[in-house]
Symmetry: C2
Subunit: 223 residues, 2 copies
C-alpha cells in the first residue's frame, strides 16, 4: 500500500497493495465519474479510502480562489485519515471509472486496537507520508519551474504501471499539474516545450510521453 509522490528527494513508495488488500473486504466499493467529488473540504472525516483504479486529486481552495493540489492519488493509495475530525482537503476524481474502497474510521480504529500488526502497518504508511510531504516541502520551497516539472515527470514515471513499456500517461490536465507544482499553467506548458525541444522527453499526444534522455531529465532536478 502506498500513499503518494516519490521522485527525487522523496521516500520510495513500497508497492504493498497486496499486503493490505485483505482489508478491502472490510470496506464498501464504489465507482466514480471524472470530476466527481469523493469528499469535500470541511466534510466530516469519518471514513478512510483506498483508491483501486483510476486517479484522483487531493486539493484545497483558499478563500481568494487559489487552488493547491496537495497530492495525486493513484492505485493502491490509502487516504482520508486525519488528526482532527474533519477533512482539510477535498478529493476529486480525475478519470472516469475511478474506483474506491471506503472504510469506517471507527472500524479501522478498533482493528488497530486489537491487531498490533495492522496498527504498525498504518503507522508505517503515516510515517512514509510524512517523509514524502517533507520532500514536497523542499520541492515547493527550493526549486525553479523547470526543476519542478522535471521532478514531476520522474515521479509520474516511477508511479506508472510497469507494463506500459516506457509510455507514461498523464491522467491529469495541465491545470492540475500547475496547481500541484504551484506554478502557472503557462509555465508548465513552456517547461514541457523546453524539455521536448531539448530532446529530453517526447510526446505521443498531450497526455502521453516517453523519456528520451533520462540523465538529462534527472540533471534538471534539485537533488
Amino acid at each position: 500500500m502506498q500513499l503518494a509522490t516519490p521522485g527525487p528527494h522523496c521516500a520510495p513508495r513500497t508497492p504493498v497493495i497486496a499486503r493490505l488488500s485483505p482489508m478491502d473486504s472490510l470496506g464498501t466499493w464504489r465507482s466514480y465519474e471524472a470530476g466527481e467529488t469523493v469528499y469535500g473540504q470541511e466534510d466530516v472525516g469519518d471514513h478512510w479510502y483506498r483508491l483501486l483504479e483510476g486517479a484522483a486529486r487531493k486539493c484545497t481552495l483558499t478563500s481568494d480562489g487559489r487552488r493547491q493540489i496537495v497530492d495525486f492519488l493513484m492505485p493502491g493509495d490509502l487516504f482520508g485519515f486525519h488528526a482532527g475530525s474533519r477533512h482539510d482537503c477535498s478529493v476529486e476524481c480525475i478519470t472516469s471509472d475511478t474506483t474506491m474502497v471506503r472504510f469506517q474510521r471507527q472500524q479501522m480504529e478498533s482493528l488497530m486496537e486489537s491487531d498490533p500488526h495492522f496498527a504498525r502497518r498504518v503507522r508505517e504508511i503515516a510515517f512514509a507520508s510524512i517523509d514524502r510531504m517533507q520532500s514536497r516541502t523542499i520541492l515547493l520551497g527550493r526549486s525553479r519551474a523547470l526543476e519542478r516539472v522535471s521532478g514531476f515527470l520522474i515521479e509520474m514515471v516511477s508511479r506508472a504501471s510497469p507494463e506500459t513499456k516506457g509510455i507514461v500517461g498523464l491522467p491529469m490536465s495541465r491545470y492540475d499539474i500547475a496547481d500541484y507544482l504551484a506554478i502557472a499553467v503557462e509555465t508548465v506548458s513552456r517547461s514541457l516545450t523546453t524539455l521536448r525541444s531539448e530532446q529530453v522527453i517526447a510526446f505521443l499526444d498531450a497526455r502521453h510521453f516517453r523519456i528520451v534522455n533520462r540523465r538529462a531529465l534527472e540533471a534538471q532536478c534539485c537533488n
Copy 2:
C-alpha cells in the same frame, strides 16, 4: 505532545506534553549548545527525540547548497521518526541550553506493540504532523512573501508560552526564517519593515515583537 507549526490553514496543536511525559523516563536526557547538531542528514535514524527546552531547526541541504528548514522544533515536540531507516533532515539547536530526551526506536516499537494506547497516541501525533505538513504545502505553494511572513508570525504567537503577556520571542535568526518560508533574507526583512510601518506589529528589539493589529495581520494570510 505536539509536533509543530500551526497558524492559518494549520491543524491546531494540542498541548499534551503532560499526557506523554511519563515516557520521558524511558529516554536519556541531554543539553546542547547553540548551533550544535542533534543528528545529521543521512544519519541512521534509530532514535526518537523530544525537545523539552529551547528551540531547534529541522533542515535539509540540497546538493547545490540551498537550504530548506522543514520545521522549527519547540518544547513538547516529538521528532526523529521515519518510514525509512535513515534521517532525511538534520536537526540543529538554535538556542543554548536546548535540552532533549532521546529514546531508542526499538524500545518505542515494542512499547507500541504491547500498549495500544501508546500506539494510538503516536498515531495521532503522526496524523497531526501530516495535517500540518499539508498546511505548509499550501503556505509554500500559494502565497506571497508578505503572506508567508504574516502567517509565520501568527504561528509563532500561537506557539509562544502564554505567560509572556503579548511579547513574543523569535529564537531564530532572519536567515532561519527565510529558509523556513523559502524566501530571501532581504525579503523577510522588508516584509517585517512593511508590517511594522503599517502598525501591524511592533518590535522591542530584532528578536522580540508584539502584535498591534491582529485583524490586519490575519488579513494578510492566505486563508
